[in-house]
């Protein structure tokens, strides 16, 4: 092959790959202006990995605790690695993934996802897995999550998954082609609006309350991994009124915690101690905490972490002070912006 030909075909390959790369960036959902939950997992990697506490779990972690409150009131540097409908196997791999970068003192896992033995929705799989950086952990996470009909290659080349999105592109897809803006506050999803919880329905009786084998397997794995790395595993249940948390579920978790000497805190039972008022602390009638609820929960959990677990107060470390100062500004700016958005008076 002569020199000219090499240039010709080389150039062809470069141009083709560039076009494909650009198209892929364009077509992949940006999760910036709506469904921001899809962007959370990726944001972690931009942080300085020096956290005392890592949260994993579904919406019951990323909407229930405000890391800023944990910092400001207890000096705990925390990060929430939550994502929408995060399944337990995904939580496990996110812990594994986190441990590649840092070793926190405590991992807090919200046990609501124990009820799902396998992935329920491809869309939620994508939102959790896409943001992970490539590693063996991610490969394992994908393999553990894929539903029937999903293809591994679709995760490697997301353009294959989103190839039809060209007809649904928005301005945001172009605006955030290469640079995304932060949508969470250390993994916390802020909402300032209020929708009181009224008439929360009782749970329908289920045929079977026992958690599945697969779910238990990953809880075991998470526990063992934490033991091995000297990380304290704390199990929690967020104070969400709905989806209904069955007493039968509670018994199983309590039994497990007892058997393995783990601490399990059900914030539903501590609602009074937390000072929760479901008429002001939730934005969607009891499913999720709003800012006020999340700050109260953080205050409550921070007390446990700092007093019972003796986590060090790190306020005064200059790097952390500086970084949290900036985070606080972003936090307050968003509060102000949301208040305008939802028409809330001070």
């Amino acid at each position: 092959m002569n020199y000219n030909k090499i240039i010709k075909y080389g150039l062809t390959a470069v141009i083709s790959l560039a076009i494909l790369f650009f198209l892929q960036r364009l077509l992949v959902p940006k999760y910036v202006d709506d469904i921001v939950e899809g962007a959370f997992v990726a944001e972690y990697y931009e942080e300085v990995k020096d956290h005392d506490v890592i949260f994993v779990g579904d919406c019951e972690v990323y909407e229930t605790y405000s890391p800023l409150v944990l910092w400001e009131e207890y000096g705990i540097n925390s990060y929430i690695r939550g994502s929408a409908q995060q399944y337990i196997f995904q939580s496990y791999y996110l812990v594994e993934d986190t441990l590649r970068y840092e070793t926190p003192d405590v991992v807090v896992f919200n046990i609501q996802s124990l009820q799902y033995d396998e992935a329920q929705s491809e869309a939620y799989n994508r939102m959790t897995l896409e943001g992970m950086k490539w590693s063996k952990t991610k490969v394992d996470a994908i393999n553990a999550s894929m539903k029937e009909g999903e293809q591994f290659l679709d995760y490697v080349f997301p353009i294959l998954r989103y190839h039809t999105r060209w007809s649904a592109l928005t301005d945001a897809d172009f605006q955030y082609l290469f640079d995304k803006k932060k949508v969470s506050h250390n993994g916390y999803y802020m909402r300032v609006d209020v929708k009181p919880a009224e008439n929360v329905p009782e749970g329908r009786p289920l045929g079977n309350y026992a958690f599945g084998e697969n779910a238990w397997k990953y809880l075991d794995m998470m526990r063992e991994l934490c033991e091995e790395k000297g990380v304290t595993l704390l199990l929690v249940k967020a104070p969400s009124l709905y989806p209904y948390w069955y007493p039968e579920y509670e018994e199983q978790v309590e039994a497990y915690a007892k058997e393995h000497g783990l601490r399990y805190i059900n914030l539903l039972e501590d609602a009074d101690a937390i000072g929760l008022d479901y008429s002001v602390d939730t934005y969607d009638a009891g499913l999720h905490m709003n800012l006020s609820g999340a700050e109260k929960c953080a205050r409550f959990l921070g007390h446990v972490l700092s007093v019972e677990y003796g986590l060090e107060d790190r306020r005064g470390e200059s790097a952390l002070d500086a970084s949290w100062q900036m985070k606080k500004e972003a936090y307050e700016a968003e509060i102000a912006a949301q208040k305008i958005k939802y028409g809330i008076e001070e």
């Binding site: 010709k8 198209l23 999903e150 293809q151 679709d154 353009i159 294959l160 190839h163």
Partner: protein, 529 residues
């Protein structure tokens, strides 16, 4: 491993690379291994069926060939001393031996095909008869999975057996080589049904890397994926919606009939483009299966241009031998004596083509719907044969012999006619087929074409726009094709233009193809047969 799966694309890339990297003598063995891996992926036990076909037909052909050779050697030595009668007696005695080998292998393979494909059809009909005679209990159905492509590879192997028996092609002595002919992975699923004599020279020959040939092959593969993924798998949604719901009658049947025509062509010819393209990239030439069939002006012409390899098979191996068989010759004579020459000479044609079309029908599927489908084709073909002189007179009278408008009329008429015949294919039972056919004429709901009802069939307005655009592209390519190979016509264009064309086509498939989550990966329609 569907053609439209990532796995197949990876498999194909690997085979292509190995094919040109390995020493040339390893090329056909590589294809054999690849073909068996491909077939194995469909189901390990399916290999057993294919292997039994391979061995029986290979063995019979070798025996037939040996006998042939022995006969030749014997005649060479003794011919001078034999009179004509002795010669005839000797030949016929040898032929009988060969016929036994032939028949044994044929029956074994037809039996296997009959059991796996038609056992339940047979049981169903027996049960129907039993029920009619008041017996409450029927036979129970057998549970046999249909081995992938069995109708195609069995017919291809039988065709070879006939060719060897007739002395048209020498037998392949090597079992592995013959096994490749039966199993060659690009064509094993849906044909085309190839002839050994045509395929063998390029199948086993060593091939050096020829950039032009590989690129031509891959261009055709891409075009096949375009037809399959952008058109066929998209329109499939609407076709399924229409024929899956019995309340869709009248205009819906009309629309569904046209959609099904488009789907079937895009699906089947797209699949064949992929098959022939892959073979071409490997330096192997296969039979063509389509010759722009929707430009046909009559049903006989259509059947010479659509699924050509199957049609040729039935013509060469059923119609032709049957029409010259002793029984039919005798019958022809008798009829000629009683009813005159005109009737006499129609006998072989009518009877043989009847048999060929009944066989074609049952080959397509184990149901009465397909039998009636085949016989409807036969009926229209015969009608068309009889009416040809009448049409010619009509055209002479109206001076439309050379008018393009009449051509267009004929093309449209043929298209609709085939559409109607293919309704048998869209329905599971004869009753529902006839009901929906009649409703096209009796039900006046043609307003649905303009009032947005078509948007309720699972396709959006955008989908229809894509379909229309893609179909125009297919049409344009077909028109260019009349002047010869499209790829050869594109070849002299500047590199940048070609790059834009082919990379653009690739992007269209990538972005507009109906694949992945949200689209069911649909099998190629002709896999079923």
């Amino acid at each position: 491993m569907l053609f439209t799966s990532y796995l197949f694309l990876g498999f194909l890339a690997l085979v292509l690379i190995l094919y040109y990297v390995l020493p040339k003598r390893a090329q056909w063995p590589l294809l054999l291994i690849a073909s068996y891996v491909f077939y194995f992926a469909a189901g390990a036990h399916f290999l057993l069926y294919m292997f039994s076909t391979t061995v029986t037909i290979w063995g019979a052909a070798v025996l037939i060939d040996k006998n042939h050779a022995a006969q030749k050697a014997y005649l060479k030595e003794h011919k001078e001393g034999m009179d004509r009668e002795a010669l005839k007696a000797y030949r016929s005695s040898q032929k009988k031996i060969r016929f036994r080998y032939f028949l044994a292998a044929l029956l074994v393979n037809l039996l296997v095909l009959a059991v796996v494909k038609y056992a339940n059809f047979f049981i169903d009909n027996v049960n129907g008869v039993l029920k009619a005679f008041g017996s409450g209990e029927g036979l129970s159905f057998v549970n046999i999975a249909l081995p992938m492509g069995i109708s195609f590879y069995t017919f291809q192997a039988i065709g070879y057996l006939v060719d060897v028996y007739r002395g048209n092609t020498p037998a392949e002595k090597s079992l592995p080589r013959f096994a490749l002919f039966v199993s060659f992975f690009p064509q094993v699923v849906q044909g085309p049904i190839n002839r050994f004599g045509e395929m063998a020279p390029t199948l086993y020959a060593p091939h050096g890397f020829d950039g032009r040939q590989v690129s031509f092959g891959l261009q055709r593969v891409l075009w096949g994926y375009f037809k399959k993924m952008v058109i066929a798998d998209r329109i499939l949604v609407a076709v399924t919606a229409i024929f899956g719901d019995p309340s869709h009658q009248g205009a819906y049947v009309f629309v569904g009939m046209i959609f099904y025509r488009l789907q079937l062509y895009a699906d089947f010819s797209g699949g064949i483009d992929i098959t022939i393209g892959i073979a071409e990239a490997l330096g192997i030439s296969l039979r063509e299966n389509f010759n722009r069939p929707y430009f046909s002006k009559s049903l006989p012409e259509y059947w010479r241009r659509w699924h050509m390899s199957m049609n040729a098979w039935f013509r060469d191996y059923i119609f032709y031998p049957l029409s010259t068989s002793p029984a039919l010759v005798a019958l022809t004579k008798a009829v000629r004596k009683r009813f005159g020459a005109g009737a006499g000479k129609r006998v072989p044609l009518y009877i043989s083509s009847f048999a060929a079309w009944a066989a074609t029908g049952i080959w397509h599927g184990a149901s009465w719907n397909f039998v009636v489908w085949g016989l409807t084709n036969w009926f229209i073909l015969m009608l068309s044969e009889e009416l040809t002189p009448l049409y010619a007179r009509f055209r002479k009278m109206t001076h439309t012999e050379h008018k393009r408008s009449y051509d267009v009329f004929q093309i449209g008429r043929t298209f609709l006619l085939i559409g109607c015949v293919n309704l048998f294919d869209c329905h599971a039972t004869l009753g529902s087929t006839f009901r929906s056919f009649a409703s096209m004429f009796t039900m006046n709901n043609y307003h649905i074409i303009g009032d947005g009802s078509l948007l309720q069939l699972g396709l959006s307005g955008l989908d229809y726009v894509i379909l229309a655009g893609a179909w125009l592209l297919v049409l344009a390519v077909s028109l260019v094709q009349r002047k010869g190979s499209v790829r050869a016509q594109i070849e002299p264009l500047p590199y940048a233009v070609k790059y834009v064309m082919f990379f653009g086509l690739f992007l269209i498939v990538l972005l507009m193809g109906a694949y992945g989550v949200g689209y069911d990966q649909s099998q190629f329609i002709y896999n079923r047969f």
